[in-house]
């Protein structure tokens, strides 16, 4: 690579002075090494590439670490005063860099990390922005409750971050995504104002129910990816937990060595009163039919098909992963059900009986001591993963560079496979272990009690030192999303959109981008909260259009969509309607 010096953008000195006065000099930094760390954490391919490209816009102008809600408010007000962008930051797993080229304040919330309360009566937990799932699970289990699941992107995820996204769990079949398990948020809006949702919005009313009076303004924040301000406190729902007062964990002391393997760390049994049933099916159709039948039967708290993904979820070394992929160690058409004896022990017996009938009807076979015991043994890491998710990070062993998530009825898995196979044929192979999309296997997470809706995902794992492979990742993801839109589906299964998809692909919803522009204007009049991440303002769009349109059009052509320019000329649905009317009049 070209050797050039990266010079981070700087804020006016008075901004630094004001920020320092707010948080104290120990909690603000412009140290170059620290800025670098904050701009390249974990799983974002884009920032890895930015490092290779010596792109200074990957660096924040400074990091501030407020300790209180009031300090967050003061920082945000300063950002508004000087019209300086900011981004909220917790673990930094993704979306951790500035959203445009302007000098940006990174607001790291790591000092706000307490579980504020567990309300046993109303079954809720209130936490600060940096509290993670693990903390909530540990505290709630002591009173026979849990939050209902833990993210696939590990239990260390911060609940506030997931609240600004969606939050998928292995137990989303029964409990849904985090987005419907939130009782309230306390936000510092992009203007610095405090905004509360749910019953908590009303003075004198306990924080016990998710709706505030009248229209639900929480809907403007949920899934806003840090563009609607900063979540400083969250209250989540809790549910009955029967697995014991101490949330089970694998044995302690696992060394943090990339290729370390000792079986005792991966063979812990499921929690008390919980069982995992693994089964395989002869082909796609039988698995999908069984998947739906299981959901319709009403049993289980979790229902997921993990296919060949198990090769890296359940393999302790990269070498083992690659060997298992090659040898097809895990059956293509497998799925598992998590059964919990919440009502009584007999509940699990009943659920097993129901499952037996479905498995037999759809020609499935349980993985057991008499059928592929070595595979069942290898799947043991899942036993605790629905409460303490760690295996997902094994896929990050190499370098996770992003993925594409689609959502729909169980058949979405086949749709997904087709898209991904096409992507591979267009762009070529970019990764090694993740064959979930392209191979004949089903990867599905039920997020609805009757499997009306499910999520599927394909990810990329390029070598982080391989610039060419990294460069291919962006078009891969764009292609996946664009292709989905071209097939009249949303770009991301969670219903969320990121720029440039929101504004440059208005096909994802008549008038949606125009509507959300209005909402952004209400919440963030100065355009300082992660600006341009989710929805461009008209000015941002116009400024970027000349640069981005050729690239987007290239992608649109690949997926047989109209080019952006045509869309820009045609504008909104109303203009389209007028043109249609004019055309029909002329014809008449």
């Amino acid at each position: 690579m070209e050797k050039k010096k990266i010079i981070p953008a700087e804020l006016p000195s008075e901004v630094y002075r004001e920020l320092e006065a707010i948080v104290g000099k120990d909690w603000i930094t412009r140290d170059r090494a620290i800025l670098e760390t904050y701009s390249k954490l974990s799983i974002e391919g884009k920032t890895t590439l930015q490092k290779h490209m010596k792109d200074p816009t990957s660096l924040h102008a400074c990091i501030v670490l407020p300790a209180t809600v009031e300090e967050v408010q003061a920082v945000v007000r300063t950002a508004n005063k000087y019209k300086v962008p900011f981004i909220p930051f917790t673990n930094g797993q993704m979306l951790c860099t500035p959203t445009n080229a302007k000098p940006t304040i990174c607001i790291h919330l790591s000092r706000m990390n307490r579980v504020l309360s567990i309300d046993e009566d109303n079954m809720t937990a209130s936490v600060e922005a940096y509290a993670d799932y693990g903390q909530v699970l540990a505290d709630a289990a002591k009173v026979g409750l849990w939050n209902g699941g833990t993210p696939l992107s590990t239990t260390l995820c911060k609940i506030s971050s997931q609240a600004a996204f969606a939050g998928i769990w292995q137990t989303s079949k029964k409990y849904g995504l985090l987005d419907r398990n939130i009782i309230s948020l306390t936000m510092v809006l992009p203007t610095g104002e405090i905004f509360k949702t749910g019953a908590n919005a009303i003075a004198g009313v306990k924080d016990f129910w998710e709706y505030a009076p009248g229209p639900d303004l929480f809907s403007l924040v949920r899934g806003s990816l840090g563009t609607a301000g900063i979540i400083v406190e969250v209250t989540v729902k809790l549910h009955a937990w029967v697995g014991g007062a101490d949330m089970p964990e694998p044995p302690a002391g696992r060394p943090c060595i990339q290729n370390f393997h000792k079986p005792e760390f991966d063979t812990a049994p499921p929690p008390d009163k919980h069982r995992l049933f693994w089964m395989e099916f002869p082909d796609y159709d039988s698995e999908i039919n069984a998947f739906r039948a299981i959901a319709h039967s009403g049993i289980g708290i979790g229902l997921n098909a993990t296919g060949v993904y198990n090769s890296y979820y359940c393999s302790q070394t990269q070498e083992m992963t690659e060997k298992r992929v090659k040898e097809k160690f895990f059956p293509d058409w497998n799925l598992y059900v998590i059964s919990a004896g919440i009502t009584s022990d007999r509940q699990i017996d009943y659920e097993k009986k129901v499952l037996d009938a479905i498995v037999a009807k759809h020609h499935g076979t349980y993985l057991s001591q008499s059928h592929k015991p070595e595979v069942l043994y290898a799947l043991a890491p899942w036993n605790l993963d629905f409460t303490r998710h760690v295996t997902g990070y094994r896929m990050n062993r190499r370098n996770y560079a992003g993925g594409v998530f689609f959502g729909g009825a169980p058949e979405i898995a086949k749709h997904h496979t087709k898209i991904w196979k096409d992507a591979l044929s267009i762009f070529g192979q970019t990764y090694m272990t993740d064959r979930g999309g392209a191979d004949n296997t089903v990867f599905l997470y039920a997020v609805d009690p009757a499997a009306r809706f499910n999520l599927t995902e394909t990810d990329m794992y390029p070598d982080p030192m391989d610039v060419k492979a990294l460069q291919k990742c962006m078009p891969f993801m764009l292609y996946g999303m664009a292709r989905n839109i071209s097939m009249k589906k949303l770009p991301i299964g969670f219903g969320i959109s990121l720029e440039p998809m929101t504004s440059f692909f208005p096909e994802q919803g008549p008038n949606a981008y125009l509507f959300f522009r209005k909402i952004r204007k209400i919440l963030d009049p100065n355009g300082v909260s992660s600006p341009g991440r989710q929805i461009f303002s008209e000015e941002e769009y116009n400024a970027l259009a000349p640069l981005m349109t050729p690239l987007i059009d290239k992608m649109k052509k690949l997926v047989a969509m109209n080019p952006v320019l045509a869309k820009m000329l045609l504008g909104t649905a109303s203009i389209l309607g007028k043109i249609k009317t004019l055309t029909s009049r002329k014809t008449a």
Binding site: D121, N122, M123, T124, G144, K174, G176, D179, A201, I202, A203, G204, V205, K206, F208, W209, E210, Y211, A212, P213, G214, P215, D216, L217, S219, L220, R222, K237, A240, R292, S297, G298, T343, S344, Q347, Y350, V354, A357, G408, A409, A450, R452, F453, K488, K489, L490, G495, I496, T502, Q508, P510, N511, A512, Y513, L514, F516, K518, K521, I522, A573
Partner: protein
């Protein structure tokens, strides 16, 4: 400047624009204490395009529009407060889709609960219905207004039953929410751009747009179920039992009725009224039941699963008996005071409008509809009774329905005051008690999350930051303020 009648007739056709005095008068009131004014006219769109056209015309002329589906909100939300046009959506009454693989239906706003339940029942499915919803109530509006369904005790089938929706925004443009917003098949509530954006329009009383389609969860109509009764002398005494039962997630529907409401429901003398307000009708059967029924009855329905239903009922029943034994409370399979109470209640779970017979007591019912934490319910009840005592309303004439939400996380409560609205003195007195009770409840921490009529001002004055943002949203998406002005959102 109102929309020209000629223009309305061009949009809707001559027969679908009505401005005769009598009908306008009918639309100016409902059974609530709310006062409306006569609308300028009533229009009956038959298509989404017609809805768009009238909204655009209203924007141009600044004409208020009042979305109206079945007119059975009963809380004054569909009354014109500032004149304008009633957009009566009852002609848009098609059940557009039944997806048996993915268990959902798509309906227009004119589809009623009875229409949909009857249709689904023939196919082996059911929709979840709120207790006390009139059979002719619009399903779409009821869901949009967050009327809590009887199965709200279940997390899976309680508070999350809306999927994709189609809206006409106040500028006349269409916004689709959910999976189908990109133009494809429906199937989920998430999107576009944000995951549950449709919720912005819930509880909005038509002030932010007109919803024209909605997809809803359905489930199989499983016939095997068992009803159990637990009786209590006081509401507060029911709480520990309810909590213990629901921590084990026993049963599907779970709710409490006081003796007034249970007597009204089980009273064979009364019929479900077709109009509201109804006409007061004395009933010896009602008086007899009120004198013999227990003060409070908890009704729990254990529903079988699609496979091996009896076995599911068996293990839940066993668990229920264990809880009751531990708590030393009697579990009853019937009510000795009433023949086949279990059978009657089982029917109510699917067609839960028998409780509307309560309208026969004094003609109109004025509920105090709120949510309460489980442990605070006794204090809430006391707040209501204080207002009754102070205002000369007989506490025994308060009807009560308490619904368990999400396995006891919260309670939805409806305490009713009765009066004959045609008797001005009585109506004035009861209204005073109702307002005082509302205020007492709010002071006690009750959540009025669906603030109809005067509740809106009372509750938003306690939630100023929220109200300010709500006003900002309203101003941005309905700058001319044409959508149901004078209701809900103070501008």
């Amino acid at each position: 400047m109102a929309i020209d009648k000629k223009r309305l007739m061009e949009i809707f056709g001559e027969t679908n624009v009505i401005d005769n005095e009598t009908l306008r008068e009918c639309y100016a009131r409902d059974q609530s204490f709310e006062a409306g004014v006569k609308p300028d006219c009533i229009v009956f769109p038959g298509t989404v395009e017609q809805v768009q056209q009238v909204v655009k015309a209203a924007q141009e002329t600044g004409t208020p529009l009042i979305p109206y589906s079945s007119g059975l909100n009963l809380h004054g939300a569909a009354l014109a407060k500032r004149g304008g046009i009633i957009v009566n959506l009852s002609r848009m009454n098609k059940i557009l889709t039944l997806d048996e693989e993915n268990w959902f239906v798509m309906v227009e706003p004119g589809v009623t609960y009875k229409q949909l339940q009857d249709f689904l029942s023939k196919k082996g499915y059911r929709i979840m219905i709120p207790f006390g919803a009139p059979p002719d109530r619009s399903v779409l509006t009821s869901y949009l207004e967050r009327d809590p369904v009887l199965s709200a005790n279940s997390f899976e089938y309680g508070n999350n039953l809306i999927m994709d929706t189609e809206l006409v925004l106040p500028d006349g443009e269409i916004l689709k929410t959910g999976l189908w917003s990109a133009g494809g098949e429906p199937g989920n509530s998430m999107g576009p751009v944000r995951n549950l954006i449709f919720r912005l329009w819930t509880g909005a009383q038509g002030t932010l747009g007109i919803m024209t389609k909605m997809c809803l969860h359905i489930m199989p109509d499983i016939k095997e179920r068992k009803i159990f009764f637990l009786t209590f002398e006081k509401l507060s005494a029911a709480i520990s039992s309810l909590r213990a039962i629901q921590r084990k997630e026993i049963g599907f529907e779970c709710f409490l009725l006081n003796r007034f409401n249970l007597a009204a429901l089980l009273n064979p003398d009364w019929k479900v009224p077709e109009i509201f307000p109804s006409f007061p009708a004395s009933s010896p059967g009602f008086d007899r039941l009120r004198s013999i029924l227990p003060p409070w009855v908890l009704i729990l329905s254990i529903q079988g699963g699609p496979l091996y239903p009896e076995e599911k009922i068996a293990y839940e029943t066993e668990a229920l008996k264990e809880v009751c034994s531990t708590l030393k409370i009697e579990l009853q399979e019937t009510l000795p005071q009433v023949e086949d109470a279990a059978g009657l209640l089982a029917h109510e779970l699917l067609y839960p409008w028998g409780i509307l017979k309560k309208f026969n007591y004094r003609g109109s019912v004025h509920d105090l509809s709120f949510k309460s934490p489980l442990q605070d319910i006794a204090a809430m009840e006391a707040a209501i009774m204080d207002a009754c005592s102070a205002g000369g309303y007989e506490p025994d004439e308060v009807g009560a329905y308490v619904l368990c939400l999400e396995r006891g996380r919260a309670l939805h409560c409806e305490f009713d005051l009765h009066c004959d609205v045609k008797n001005a003195e009585e109506a004035g007195r009861v209204k005073g008690v109702w307002l005082k009770a509302s205020e007492n409840l709010m002071n006690q921490g009750a959540l009025f999350d669906r603030p109809y009529g005067p509740w809106a001002e009372m509750v938003y004055s306690r939630a100023e930051a929220y109200a300010e943002k709500l006003k900002a949203v309203k101003r941005e998406i309905d700058p001319a303020g044409i959508m149901n002005p004078g209701n809900l959102i103070p501008l």
